[in-house]
């Protein structure tokens, strides 16, 4: 097993290098550059050239790449082009925000999606099945900003039940340990802050969870349906086992593989940030930051972030493979 994972780590190195070269080429090849984006309407030929020179954007591309790659290897993510702020500092604030929201959304999606999927598989073609699958279709189709703004308007403004701006209220402070506000508040034993942080999470997490929830529910349903038609399920029923036991122990356990895979993929997506949800709920995560950085051609941020996202996907895939071995004793590495 150790050998298997060691090989996987080594195999992923060319992937990371490939991604880094690809991203570097792409961001440099699209027209426009950070200098023009920075100067805006006041860009003249002379000051564009001068500034490019000062910031080193006039060097040959491969030299710029090696310079950047060398820095990355030393663990230096560089400074933002706009503002000259260490990328690492910016990341330290934003990444926990993304992780907290992503995990919350995925938890919601899993806790709701899996039971719904199981129920609609066992009650196939019932009203419940139709309704939940229609709900799933709706969940995939509703534009995030429509749902987000509806929640803000009804739950936030009209009913005043929940906050919808950022991660904490203006008057709450939490001492930073992990950067995950809910955890930090618990460590601090500050219940008021915990409640505030949790309340701020709910609306964006609901918004962000709709698509993964719908996907998870549908996958669970189809995986369960496949298993429920197997002979051993019929045997289990025939043995006189309780219906629940058959569904959970015999069927669900065997349907888990595709479900875990899809949850893993969703985790990768969620951890790379969510542009729309972050924008609507003023959530200071990495998604909108990356988006803005592409528009501003802030090379340092785009290059570092995409590389990190690639690594997240690789790590999530590892974790999923690892889970396989736990779920299914027949799988050995």
């Amino acid at each position: 097993m150790f050998q298997y994972f060691a090989r996987r780590v080594i195999e992923s190195i060319p992937v990371v290098i490939g991604v880094s070269i690809l991203v570097f080429m792409l961001i440099h090849m699209i027209p426009g550059d950070p200098v023009v984006a920075m100067l805006g309407e006041r860009a003249t030929e002379e000051n564009v050239t001068a500034l490019r020179e000062r910031l080193g954007f006039d060097e040959p591309l491969y030299e710029q790449y090696f310079l950047w790659a060398g820095r990355m290897l030393r663990g230096d993510l560089g400074n933002t082009v706009r503002g000259n702020i260490p990328v690492e500092n910016e990341l330290r604030n934003r990444f926990p925000a993304t992780i907290e929201l992503g995990l919350m959304a995925l938890t919601l999606a899993t806790l709701v999606g899996v039971p719904v999927g199981i129920l609609s598989a066992t009650k196939r073609n019932s009203l419940l099945d139709t309704a939940s699958m229609f709900g799933a279709l709706f969940g995939v189709s509703i534009p995030i900003f429509v749902l987000g703004l509806l929640l803000i308007f009804f739950i936030g403004v009209e009913l005043e039940w929940l906050p919808f701006v950022g991660r904490l209220s203006s008057d709450i402070n939490i001492e930073r340990v992990t950067g995950l506000n809910t955890i930090d508040a618990l460590i601090d034993g500050n219940w008021k802050a915990f409640k505030d942080a949790l309340e701020h999470l709910i609306l964006p997490a609901i918004t962000l969870s709709t698509i993964p929830l719908a996907v998870i529910a549908r996958i669970t349903r189809s995986a369960m349906l496949e298993v429920l038609n197997q002979d051993y399920i019929r045997t289990a029923h025939a043995k006189g086992l309780r219906y629940r036991t058959v569904v959970i122990r015999h069927a669900f356990r065997n349907a888990l593989l595709p479900i875990v895979t899809i949850i893993g993929l969703q985790l990768g997506t969620l951890l790379s940030g969510a542009v729309l949800t972050e924008t609507i709920f003023s959530w200071p995560g990495v998604g909108k930051w990356l988006f803005d950085s592409i528009v501003a051609r802030d090379y340092s941020i785009v290059q570092s972030m995409t590389l990190i996202i690639a690594m997240i996907y690789i790590a999530v895939n590892f974790a999923v493979d690892f889970m396989y071995a736990i779920i299914d004793p027949r799988i050995r590495y």
């Binding site: 699209i30 027209p31 426009g32 550059d33 950070p34 023009v36 984006a37 920075m38 100067l39 805006g40 309407e41 006041r42 860009a43 003249t44 030929e45 000051n47 564009v48 500034l51 000062r54 400074n79 706009r82 503002g83 000259n84 702020i85 260490p86 500092n89 910016e90 604030n93 934003r94 925000a97 938890t107 806790l111 703004l149 803000i152 308007f153 403004v157 005043e160 039940w161 929940l162 919808f164 701006v165 950022g166 991660r167 203006s170 008057d171 008021k192 409640k195 949790l198 309340e199 709910i202 924008t279 609507i280 709920f281 003023s282 200071p284 909108k288 930051w289 528009v295 501003a296 051609r297």
Partner: protein
């Protein structure tokens, strides 16, 4: 599995219980907090190295230049400089500074500090003129850094503990207006030295002389400032704390104002304005226009070299309809580059009336009775001058701005409208795009938008040179579509070198007449920016340059 989900459900339910009244906080604050809904994260809090409005909105509250803009005008008034004199030839300016100001780090404000800041900006070799930072505004407003031939400042000297003397290389008409710009705020030399290149980043913030000190900046979340207890000047308002909550979405900012989460924000959606004005607890203030949106001609297009064609296009476009349909209330149609709020504006320049019939007649006169849909692009020689030789032909194209700017709320929508107006007089134009904002600016800068193209400008210092001089003083250049008029260039250079406003004004007005007669560009609109507030807020004074001081604000 079941135990865990049960726990989570319990936690969620507890969290969603109706909010219990919080116990009154032990240290009840005396002063008020003013919460501003900011549209973007600041880039940096060292105003010398940034160009974005979100950064300046914060730094204006804490960092002060030698002069301020007066109330809702662009007229310069005393700031850290309480008075000034100028020599007859306009080359030597002497400023008397206030003697009771202290920087936030406790070091004293004096003439030496002013000199330090100017030297830091001027000399690219100065140890705190970081190579990776962009002192863009200094470069743009003062004729370049000290290694530039065109530099305006020759010397800045401390001629007394509280007296600074500037010696210029040539008279600079916009001197006072430019000194009042927020990017030329005086920061503590000790703080800059101590923080090094970290100065202005979220970890450090700023250290200046203003009414609010820096407390905290969490990227993309909030910036907090606190009242400066030892502020040297007047502080008419009642706020002890200012919080900038970063809320990128305009609809979410509006919702946050409705729910009382914030006290004010800039740029509500046009469709929300009515709701704000009709509400009992919200109000709208208008910031006067200091911008212009225009449709430019590329003079590489042979057909556009005929003034009758340009005039026909100007008369074909129904600007009133565009302003009514796309712009927020308070926008006006433009007749010149200069907005009406600025001195130098020539009110006698008439607008081109919307008249498609007359436009068609002009096209016929120019030899295009049936209009045209193809244009010839002329060659440009190595000096950047348009020649008589045709390089290629291409479809007539109208390029639209790919992003919304304050002066252009909907580039594509306005572009579609313009294309249909042109079609009415027989000009079949394609609606063109060249990628995103950065790509668009680059194409414009290189003179590659061969056709008609939208763009605009927001004023920096409230001086007409910043509108006309910036665009047309040096011509022809690729960036301005190869617009060429030697007389306009000479007049603008002349006005730039004069110190006396009364002498400069008629020159700008003359240029506006010249540009109208030759239809240099089609000027479309000037637009103000609406600001939305809770009715708890009073004392806020909108300024066309956006240098609005929160120290004036009272929160009930």
């Amino acid at each position: 599995m079941r135990k865990w989900s049960l726990l989570l459900v319990v936690v969620l339910v507890v969290a969603m219980l109706p909010t219990l009244p919080d116990s009154p906080s032990a240290a009840a604050q005396e002063g008020k907090t003013f919460v501003w809904g900011a549209e973007a994260n600041p880039v940096q809090l060292d105003p010398a190295v940034v160009t974005d409005g979100a950064s300046f909105r914060v730094t204006v509250q804490g960092c002060e230049p030698l002069l301020f803009y007066d109330g809702s005008t662009t007229n310069p008034i005393p700031g850290l400089a309480k008075s000034w004199t100028t020599s007859e030839d306009g080359l030597v300016w002497t400023f008397e500074l206030v003697d009771n100001a202290t920087f936030h780090d406790g070091t004293p404000f004096n003439a030496e500090a002013v000199v330090y800041n100017f030297e830091r900006w001027r000399f690219t070799t100065h140890p705190t003129h970081w190579a990776e930072s962009v002192f863009e505004y200094y470069d743009a407003m003062w004729g370049g850094f000290d290694d530039s031939e065109n530099r305006i400042i020759d010397k800045v000297e401390a001629t007394g503990e509280f007296q600074v003397t500037f010696t210029l290389t040539s008279p600079y008409g916009s001197m006072l207006n430019t000194l009042a710009m927020p990017m030329f705020s005086i920061a503590s030399p000790a703080a800059i030295e101590a923080a090094g290149a970290q100065y202005g980043t979220p970890e450090v913030g700023y250290s200046c002389t203003g009414p609010y000190t820096f407390v905290e900046w969490v990227s993309d979340d909030h910036v907090t400032l606190a009242r400066n207890a030892t502020y040297w000047g007047d502080f008419p308002g009642n706020t002890d704390q200012v919080v900038f909550r970063i809320i990128p979405d305009a609809a979410a900012r509006f919702a946050a104002l409705q729910s009382g989460e914030i006290d004010g924000f800039e740029g509500p959606n046009v469709e929300d304005l009515e709701a704000i004005e009709g509400s009992d607890n919200m109000q709208v203030l208008m910031r006067g226009p200091l911008n212009v949106m225009y449709l430019a001609f590329s003079y590489r297009v042979k057909e556009f070299q005929d003034v009758n064609v340009r005039k026909a296009i100007a008369m074909a476009i129904n600007r009133q309809e565009i302003v009514d349909a796309f712009y927020p209330p308070g926008a006006v149609i433009a007749t010149t580059m200069i907005p009406p709020s600025l001195w130098g504006y020539n009110a006698d320049v008439p607008a081109f009336d919307y008249d498609p019939e007359a436009a068609k007649a002009l096209l016929a006169e120019a030899g295009y009775p049936d209009g045209f849909s193809e244009v010839s692009i002329m060659k440009v020689d190595e000096n950047g001058v348009v020649t008589d030789e045709v390089e290629t032909t291409m479809p007539l194209t109208l390029y639209y701005q790919p992003v919304a700017r304050p002066y252009n709320p909907d580039g594509e929508g306005i572009g579609e409208a313009m294309v249909s107006y042109l079609a009415d007089i027989g000009l079949e134009a394609e609606l063109g795009s060249v990628g995103d904002w950065s790509a668009y600016l680059e194409a414009r800068s290189n003179g590659e938008l061969n056709g008609l193209y939208q763009l605009g400008w927001t004023g920096d210092n409230g001086d007409p040179d910043n509108f006309l001089g910036y665009f047309y003083a040096a011509n022809p250049v690729a960036r301005e579509g190869f617009y060429s008029n030697a007389e306009v260039g000479t007049l603008l250079m002349q006005a730039r070198a004069m110190a006396d406003q009364a002498e400069r004004e008629p020159i700008y007005q003359q240029v506006e007449v010249l540009q109208h007669d030759e239809v240099a560009r089609v000027y479309i609109a000037h637009t103000g920016v609406p600001l939305a507030f809770s009715t708890r807020v009073s004392g806020y004074v909108p300024n066309p340059l956006s240098t609005e001081h929160f120290k004036l604000v009272t929160v009930e």
